[in-house]
């Protein structure tokens, strides 16, 4: 019983980690290459989920919903890059935080205006609504699909960044944008492309999260904070850091919430454990982040320069 419960929670944690990876990969690229901190990344996630839920409700086709979520947030990302972010490349991080904070507020109200305050329901697609038998454990097929999509995106991202010309330019841009620009590469175009790709990944995360989270205004913020914790833990600007950071944060958070209260009940008084257990479980990833930062200020997998 406990073993299967542990396996379930590990898979849940893995699945959360995969979602976080989809978000943090985009955010870390934007941060590493363009040196822009985009707090509105969670907003793109939210809008992706809304696009997906709406189109899925209309057409009942998950493929079209995927197209709407990824395409919609990609376009939205391009617009935000052209209208807001482009003015912020040379500015201090403070103004980037402030401007993207404004964007979050604006889009939360747009969502509230367009779809109302109550959560929009998005069903699990018919094909993936069953369960899969994993070593005698029935696990929802949709969650397996999330893990599969995340792994596929991770692999594709690895190939693009490390094996293609565009990926080479991206890595070069992260090291020295000015030099890449001097060599005749359109760095502005590259920036816009990276930003749009990050937005599309956020939209994909929104699509996948739609059926398992409630799609409502402000749903992007809690996951944005988790994504920031991933970046700090893994190391800002590195894809490898995003992968491992996301999986560590996802698993520690899920497993901690599931087991810590019970574990604490073993070692201390019941009433104290009941009060303190959930509190400490919800703080666990932040404590982990603080511990990582105390030992390795640049994160677990910092970018190697030079």
């Amino acid at each position: 019983m406990t073993a299967s419960l542990l396996l379930t929670q590990l898979l849940n944690g893995f699945q959360l980690g995969v979602l976080l990876f989809l978000l943090s990969a985009g955010l870390t690229l934007v941060l590493g290459i363009m040196h822009v901190i985009n707090l509105a990344h969670g907003t793109l996630f939210m809008m992706g989920a809304y696009f997906a839920a709406t189109v899925f409700g209309w057409t009942d086709s998950f493929a079209l919903a995927a197209l709407a979520a990824v395409g919609g947030s990609l376009l939205l990302g391009l617009v935000i890059e052209r209208v807001v972010i482009v003015h912020l490349y040379e500015r201090d991080h403070l103004y980037q935080v402030l401007a993207t904070f404004g964007v979050i507020l604006i889009f939360n109200e747009i969502a509230r205006y367009g779809w109302g305050t109550s959560p929009v329901f998005m069903a699990v697609p018919e094909m993936l609504s069953g369960t899969v038998d994993l070593f005698g454990l029935a696990y929802p097929a949709y969650r397996i699909a999330i893990i599969g999509v995340g792994l596929a995106v991770g692999a594709a991202l690895y190939v693009v960044v490390h094996k293609t010309r565009v990926g080479m330019l991206i890595r070069a841009g992260a090291t020295d944008a000015g030099m890449v620009s001097a060599l005749g590469v359109n760095i502005r175009g590259l920036n816009a492309m990276v930003f749009a790709a990050g937005a599309a990944l956020a939209g994909l995360a929104g699509l996948m999260a739609g059926p398992i989270l409630s799609v409502q205004p402000g749903m992007g913020e809690p996951i944005l904070i988790l994504t920031l914790v991933v970046l700090i833990t893994g190391g800002v600007g590195s894809i490898r850091g995003a992968v491992y950071g996301a999986l560590i944060v996802g698993i520690v958070d899920t497993v901690g919430r599931a087991f810590l209260p019970n574990l604490m009940r073993e070692v201390m008084e019941r009433s104290t454990a009941q009060a303190a257990g959930p509190a400490i479980a919800s703080m666990l990833i932040y404590l982990l982040m603080a511990a990582v930062l105390a030992v390795r200020p640049a994160g677990l997998f910092p970018v190697k320069h030079g």
């Binding site: 941060l31 403070l94 401007a99 604006i106 939360n108 904070i225 703080m283």
Partner: protein, 348 residues
């Protein structure tokens, strides 16, 4: 040295001009005087108008101004962008709430516990956060504030998500905070006193070193200044100012909830500082007045009586977001900064 060749008459005229220049108070002193005098007169006006609403509104404005003044010490003078200062507002508020909940009403005890506890927490958090730099500092301060936000949400004994009402305000003996005008002047005194202390602090050696770190920390370290220690001290002081603001906020609203630590409030504080003017003492006060008056005006928007009013009233946060965006993109020195620059440009 140039004066030696002047004729006696010319030099007398010069001296008179110099005297006049000396007598003309500096523009920032004018603004400070006007602003503080205006704030001091608010209760009289509202008494005259018979509207006690204004006393509460301006009390709230001054509390957020106080918190923003505190944040500005690290953000404006130290270039340490903390996106989690709402944490300390929450700490101050929760100390008042929890102590009153357990029947300890003495205000001095509240103050001592809040300042000692908040200071210790800020020292710990600051020690970890200051290991990070730039973007990472922004993200980690935000994450720490969220961590304590979730802690507050999980405190089921103290209202959890919903928060709880405070039975009685802090008891400071003769100074009765249950009188809204007395409370107003206590908040006013806290704001004015903090402004004075910070004015002395940023013009003292400590403030100079902090501003030096803002320009070039490596050079300051090479000159032998303990930059880490200075930054941590500034962080703790700014946190303590926010703790004080949180105590006053809890006393004003007689209510505590995790929303006092919410990151939207941290964001509001950053907007207020930049809107008013980064790295100026009075900027955050001006920013707080503008931002909260705008909030009030938008949430009770009434212009044409048409559907637009209704739209703005329900979705005023979106308009506020748009203003924040414009401030970030267009306003480099903030409203107060631009005002002073114009003033000084004309007088010289």
């Amino acid at each position: 040295m140039v004066d030696t060749t002047l004729t006696p008459a010319a030099s007398a005229a010069h001296a008179a001009a110099a005297g006049a220049a000396r007598w003309r108070p500096a523009p920032h002193l004018c603004v400070a005087g006007l602003l503080l005098a205006g704030l001091a007169l608010v209760p009289l006006f509202s008494l005259w108008l018979g509207q006690s609403f204004y006393v509460t509104l301006v009390s709230r404005i001054m509390i957020l101004a106080l918190a923003a003044v505190g944040l500005n010490l690290v953000m404006g003078y130290g270039a340490l962008v903390s996106f989690g200062h709402a944490l300390y507002i929450g700490v101050g508020a929760y100390v008042v709430g929890i102590l009153s909940f357990h029947g300890i009403a003495n205000g001095w005890v509240h103050l001592a516990v809040a300042l000692v506890g908040g200071g210790a927490l800020a020292a710990l958090v600051g020690l970890v956060c200051l290991r990070a730099q730039g973007v990472a500092f922004i993200m980690i301060t935000l994450a720490f504030a969220q961590m304590f936000y979730f802690l507050a949400v999980s405190l089921k004994a103290y209202g959890g998500d919903d928060g709880f009402a405070i039975a009685a305000r802090s008891d400071f003996g003769v100074v009765d905070l249950n009188n809204s005008v007395t409370l107003y002047y206590v908040i006013f005194a806290a704001l004015a006193g903090t402004l004075f202390c910070l004015h002395r602090l940023v013009h003292a050696r400590f403030g100079m070193v902090l501003q030096g770190c803002r320009s070039n920390e490596r050079r300051m370290r090479a000159l032998g200044f303990p930059t880490g220690q200075v930054k941590l001290t500034a962080y703790v002081i700014s946190a303590l100012v926010c703790v004080l603001a949180g105590m006053l906020l809890a006393n004003l609203t007689r209510f505590v909830s995790p929303s006092y630590m919410h990151w939207l409030l941290s964001g509001d504080l950053v907007v207020i500082v930049v809107l008013g003017g980064l790295g100026t003492l009075l900027g955050p006060v001006v920013g707080a007045v503008l931002w909260l008056v705008m909030e009030e005006a938008l949430s009770s928007f009434h212009l044409t009586g048409g559907p637009l009013d209704e739209l703005v009233r329900t979705h005023w946060l979106g308009v506020a977001g748009f203003v924040a965006l414009v401030v970030a993109l267009a306003l480099k020195h903030g409203v107060y900064g631009a005002l002073v620059a114009r003033f000084e440009g004309r007088s010289s």
